[in-house]
């Protein structure tokens, strides 16, 4: 397997007037070629901040970034956190590309699709305008836009949301990047269009052996496309494992809560949902102990530590399956079994 990305102990802090916002607090993850690694979590858990860090897209003056983000590119390993602007710029688009959540606002309203696509191509390859335009038409065709010859001259406002996201995908993969970061690529789209886009991404991944870092809050989407999953809560990874680990053997109480709060189209009756009470903590004054303690139902069962004052570590409870919780593993296994997805109940 080819390693593409190593993030080690990433901390991202935004100094603001009210205090320091600890948006990402010690995150580590890896991404290999051909696999899809998902980051899931609620709004504000630090997913977007993480993904922007990989491309070095934060405003340097207003962000404190520590840790390592190692991108394994054709030209060697580059640490995004410490490298200079020029090196970073050369990674963007060629080694690491990104698609964003809102296809409506991610394309420049004043330039034609062809202009924007070929710009992305030419900045890396220095191709002639004519060759670039030919490549754009090919790419539009590849992502399933009908009449690419004609559409390439049109402007973003003449495209529907789903088509714009296709254009964004075409733009991202036009230079065959090894890493594709997709930040909520389908959140703004309808389910039928979401299904189209996800299947397109899977197809392209198979074809080009890209590593995809998929950021989403939708557990359904994760189950559909991810190989491995990182569950984030308040800037920290609280559980990491394969999809099956996460859905069938959840070991972190937050993951269990998440799984049990989603009503599912298939199976199970219409009983009450077991909602997680309360709301996430403020990132400016994170609690001393476990960030999830105030919403968790297990602290009273924990022995040997205090959820309110001792911060749990991410520990490898099973091979390749990490969780961050003080509760005894056996107790978590029993609890997890109650909330786990049923498995093949369609």
């Amino acid at each position: 397997m080819t390693r593409l990305l190593d993030i080690n102990d990433l901390h991202v802090t935004f100094p603001t007037e009210d205090g320091n916002v600890k948006a990402v607090d010690g995150l580590s993850l890896t991404l290999d070629a051909g696999e899809t690694v998902a980051i899931v979590g609620e709004s504000g858990s630090g997913k977007t901040v993480t993904s922007l860090s990989v491309l070095g897209l934060h405003n340097k003056k207003r962000t404190r970034l520590t840790g390592e983000i190692l991108v394994h590119s054709e030209r060697g390993v580059v640490d995004v956190v410490s490298c200079d602007d020029e090196e970073l710029r050369k990674l963007r688009g060629s080694a690491v590309a990104m698609i964003f959540q809102d296809p409506m606002s991610s394309l420049h309203p004043y330039y034609s699709i062809g202009n924007q696509l070929s710009e992305a191509y030419r900045v890396v390859t220095k191709a002639s305008k004519k060759d670039a335009l030919k490549r754009c038409v090919e790419m539009l065709d590849l992502v399933g836009i009908p009449e690419p010859q004609k559409r390439v001259k049109e402007y973003p406002h003449q495209f529907s949301g789903g088509m714009r996201q296709r254009v964004m995908i075409a733009m991202a993969i036009i230079n065959n990047p090894r890493i594709l970061i997709a930040d909520e690529p389908t959140t703004a789209l309808d389910v039928t269009v979401q299904a189209q886009i996800l299947s397109l991404l899977k197809e392209l991944q198979r074809e080009f052996n890209m590593g995809i870092l998929l950021i989403t809050h939708d557990l359904g989407v994760v189950a559909e496309v991810a190989d491995r999953v990182n569950v984030m809560y308040a800037g920290k990874v609280v559980e990491r494992g394969t999809v099956d680990d996460i859905y069938y053997r959840p070991l972190a109480p937050y993951t269990m809560g998440l799984l049990s709060s989603i009503p599912s189209v298939y199976g199970k009756g219409t009983g009450r949902l077991s909602a997680i009470p309360g709301q996430p903590p403020s990132l400016i004054s994170l609690p001393e102990g476990c960030s999830f303690a105030s919403r968790c139902s297990f602290p009273s069962q924990v022995v040997g530590a205090s959820c309110a004052t001792d911060a749990p570590h991410l520990s490898e409870d099973e091979p390749g399956h990490f969780a961050r919780c003080h509760l005894a593993l056996a107790d978590r296994r029993t609890a997890g079994a109650k909330f786990a997805a049923k498995g093949g109940t369609a």
């Binding site: 389910v191 359904g220 994760v222 189950a223 859905y247 599912s264 909602a275 997680i276 369609a346």
Partner: protein
């Protein structure tokens, strides 16, 4: 039993003016184009469909926030299609709406107390024990701390604001509530809290809901029956369990199959129907069956004849070739 709400062939078209100079109509957006259904007392009708299919317009037209273009609306058996705004006022206390956006739908300059008390004020009702008492009881009922009576909306999280909106809408114990995507803007864990709250309130007060959402799992969870909309028309309407277990309309089938399920094994094995293309413009919808441009079963007939809603078992389906 008389249905709480009954609509017959309801239409709502929005005229589109090309520009201020020409002043001539360039066409109509057929946002809602002939829908019919009933909602029984205590029943929740779910309404699903993709963005722009007319769910919000339908919901607002039914409680006459929009003037209908055509068709009939009955509330508890009485025709309210044509009644004057002043006569409508007495109905307002019996029908309420909960909005999608918990951020935009609350006046930022009013205290929570004042926002929740608004329906009393508008209807000129003084509840037993005074307005403040009633408001605080409501706050407690929806899971807000009654001591926060004098706080402002920006001091609350999204889920809490949605609770405020809900408290306001149940203040007058309405018989019918249009809930327009009440949980779409919320995170799953908060979403579950709100769904449970709505469930409980319905059990307690026995009101009927028109529950609009684009999330099929949420709709399934909360509804007794479900209506599937596409381009301003109802494609299928059926009891929830039947609709999800055996969808008859190709669109319903495609929609259900497009929803990713939070279960990796199911995801790996199941077949998925991928629809091609995008939603056509509601300004000039396709002739015949509006779904024909994206339907994999479409034949010539579908491009000419518009199918009517026909009964198949417990479901009503508008398709020439139902499953």
């Amino acid at each position: 039993m008389t249905p709480i709400v009954k609509v017959e062939n309801l239409t709502k078209h929005f005229p589109i003016k090309k520009n201020a100079l020409a002043r001539r109509k360039a066409g109509n957006v057929k946002a809602v184009d002939g829908i019919s259904f009933e909602i029984a007392p205590g029943e929740t009708l779910g309404m699903v469909g993709e963005s722009g299919c007319g769910k919000t317009t339908a919901g607002r037209t039914i409680i006459k926030l929009y003037e209908p273009t055509g068709g009939k609306i009955y509330f508890e058996g009485e025709d309210i299609t044509e009644i004057s705004p002043s006569a409508m006022r007495s109905y307002r206390s019996k029908m309420q709406i909960i909005f999608q956006d918990p951020f935009a739908s609350l006046n930022p300059r009013h205290t929570i107390g004042r926002i929740i008390a608004a329906p009393f004020e508008i209807q000129n009702i003084t509840p037993e024990g005074g307005v403040k008492r009633a408001v605080q009881t409501l706050m407690e009922r929806v899971g807000l701390n009654p001591e926060h009576y004098n706080r402002f909306p920006h001091e609350f999280s999204g889920g809490q604001r949605q609770r405020i909106g809900i408290a306001r809408s149940i203040a007058l114990k309405p018989k019918f509530i249009v809930a327009d995507e009440p949980v779409s803007a919320l995170d799953v864990s908060i979403q579950a809290q709100i769904i449970n709250l709505l469930d409980d309130l319905q059990t307690e007060f026995g009101m009927s809901f028109l529950f609009i959402a684009h999330d099929l799992s949420v709709v399934q969870h909360i509804s007794d029956r479900v209506a599937v909309m596409y381009l301003g028309k109802i494609m299928e309407i059926a009891p929830t369990t039947d609709l999800y277990a055996a969808p008859h309309h190709p669109y319903t089938k495609a929609l259900l199959s497009a929803v990713p399920v939070p279960d990796p094994q199911t995801e790996r094995t199941r077949e998925r129907i991928l629809l091609h293309g995008d939603l056509p413009s509601p300004m000039n919808p396709p002739t015949g069956c509006v779904f024909n441009t994206r339907c994999w079963k479409a034949q010539d007939r579908c491009r000419i004849d518009e199918p009517e809603l026909l009964q198949i078992g417990t479901s009503s389906v508008a398709c020439h070739f139902p499953e």
